[in-house]
């Protein structure tokens, strides 16, 4: 059953479209499912996007193009060149600019008739309720557990829908939380995974189109909520597998004992979500092992001197193809199985991209009886910075 989200706050709603707007939105207006009535609903709608990155890009573009009257953009990050592979709101000339402002400028160019507010700030428990209160629908396009729980809880406390999307490598999830009879994020996942059990570092990356597809699904759900048309994803978790090109859906039930949206709410205010998720900073700082190190400059000097050093590269084969120090490739995940390939009588210098995986490798090998083993401090990134800038960073 379709559910309409009524605009909750703000000035007197717009009652008509200009001739220019009628022309701009004509392909909406000629559909009976949208029509003049639907287009005015879009014009009077206020949608807040949390995150203007991979999911936020198609969200911002499609919602602005569709004529959503007021868009809020929350992001504290700055555009960098690794974003451009998927964050299609941004262009090369935006690198170095705040994302919220770069996105605002792009969307204002796309549709000058709508109001766009950028908030160059990190969403926190201190500002979330204040930021959310002027909007009808909140769209979660974030990338970390603390913010996901924060967005969920703030939406439940304020009674606002939360259009959810999430991606991992080739898979995506989407649903709508926070509707009166529907479940919330905590009904689905009462607790986040502890930092130590999040996916391994050898599994980074994402195919750039994936957030485009999942963010577009979120945009479609947002527009349907505004129009009150169709069946939205309330109570359904849509799973998308890009490799198999399959969509599946699972039933999401409202948990009557949910501490947030259940019959006896036990969480009545926003909490410290970093503490709740067991992370202090932006990214989960995994336990860093203390191992003997060598700096890139020291390694260079020793190699130049002709010292007999065995360079052990613990990255993945596809990373070796990007750049390498001509080391022996033995991925961290295969180390236990292939440790016999290594000669403990030789002096070994282990490296990876940043020095973290190789620290684990050195720690493991020391425990396995290797004595002459060092970790290349800062990995291939530091090697590129301090010794050989022709080695590309990735």
């Amino acid at each position: 059953m379709a559910t309409t989200v009524q605009p909750q706050t703000g000035a007197k709603p717009a009652a008509s479209l200009s001739n220019e707007e009628i022309l701009r939105y004509s392909r909406h207006l000629i559909m009976p499912e949208v029509g003049m009535e639907g287009q005015l609903k879009l014009k009077n709608a206020k949608v807040l996007l949390i995150g203007t990155g991979g999911l936020g890009a198609p969200l911002g573009l499609y919602l602005a193009a569709a004529g959503v009257g007021k868009l809020g953009l929350v992001d504290f990050d700055v555009v960098d060149s690794t974003n451009l592979q998927r964050q299609v709101t941004f262009g090369t000339s935006d690198v170095g600019k705040p994302k919220s402002e770069a996105a605002r400028a792009r969307l204002a160019n796309l549709n000058p008739d709508i109001q766009i507010q950028s908030f160059e700030t990190q969403l926190t428990s201190a500002n979330a309720l204040e930021l959310f209160k002027d909007f009808d629908i909140i769209v979660d396009g974030t990338d970390n557990f603390p913010t996901r729980y924060l967005v969920n809880d703030a939406c439940i406390l304020l009674g606002k829908p939360n259009v959810y999307g999430s991606i991992f490598r080739f898979e995506g999830q989407a649903t709508v939380f926070g509707m009166p009879d529907g479940p919330c994020y905590r009904c689905l996942y009462p607790e986040p995974p502890p930092p130590g059990l999040v996916p391994s570092c050898a599994e980074g990356g994402v195919l750039g189109v994936l957030p485009g597809i999942v963010g577009s699904i979120q945009a479609m759900e947002t527009i349907k909520l505004i129009l009150g048309r169709g069946d939205n994803l309330v109570g359904r978790l849509l799973l998308f597998d890009a490799l198999g090109m399959k969509f599946r859906e699972l039933k999401l039930r409202k948990n009557p004992n949910c501490p947030m949206c259940g019959t006896h709410r036990t969480i009545n205010k926003l909490i410290d979500y970093y503490q709740f998720c067991g992370v202090r900073g932006e990214e989960a700082p995994g336990p860093t092992v203390q191992v003997p190190e060598i700096t890139p400059r020291e390694l260079k000097a020793r190699l130049d001197r002709g010292d007999d050093l065995f360079i052990l590269d613990v990255r993945e084969p596809h990373e070796y193809q990007i750049c390498n120090l001509k080391g022996h490739l033995l991925p961290l995940g295969e180390l236990t199985r292939r440790v016999h390939e290594l000669d403990s009588s030789r002096e070994i210098v282990a490296h990876c991209r940043s020095g973290k995986r190789s620290a684990e490798a050195v720690d493991f090998l020391r425990k396995a009886g290797f004595r002459k083993i060092l970790n290349l401090k800062g990995g291939i990134l530091a090697w590129s910075d301090e010794v050989d800038p022709s080695v590309p960073k990735y």
């Binding site: 970390n144 995974p193 059990l197 999040v198 980074g204 699972l250």
Partner: protein, 96 residues
């Protein structure tokens, strides 16, 4: 025809990179038991030390959440699909 267990991407590195596995099992618990016997590294990602399913891992038989059925004792029949759905935050970490 046995029961098919779908393995999500975040857990595939611990399951020999497989995306699914098939087992003869009468309950969800039995199927997950076979799975974690075959792929030992998966165990700590799915179960706590005292053998309970972790709270951030949801398991479905076909499209139903086993928390609303009989949990690990939920019976399975030939041809059923068991899905493991871990929470994913999104975001695109670089490698380390």
């Amino acid at each position: 025809m046995p029961v098919k267990v779908m393995i999500p991407s975040p857990l595939r590195p611990y399951a020999g990179k497989r995306d699914s596995a098939e087992f003869n099992a009468r309950t969800v618990g039995e199927a997950l038991g076979h799975l974690t016997t075959e792929f030992g590294d998966l165990r700590k990602h799915l179960f706590t030390e005292d053998g309970k399913l972790r709270s951030f891992v949801n398991v479905y038989v076909n499209d139903e959440d086993i928390r609303y059925l009989a949990k690990e004792n939920t019976p399975t029949k030939d041809g059923d699909t068991i899905s493991i759905i871990p929470s994913i935050a999104g975001g695109v970490p670089a490698m380390e």
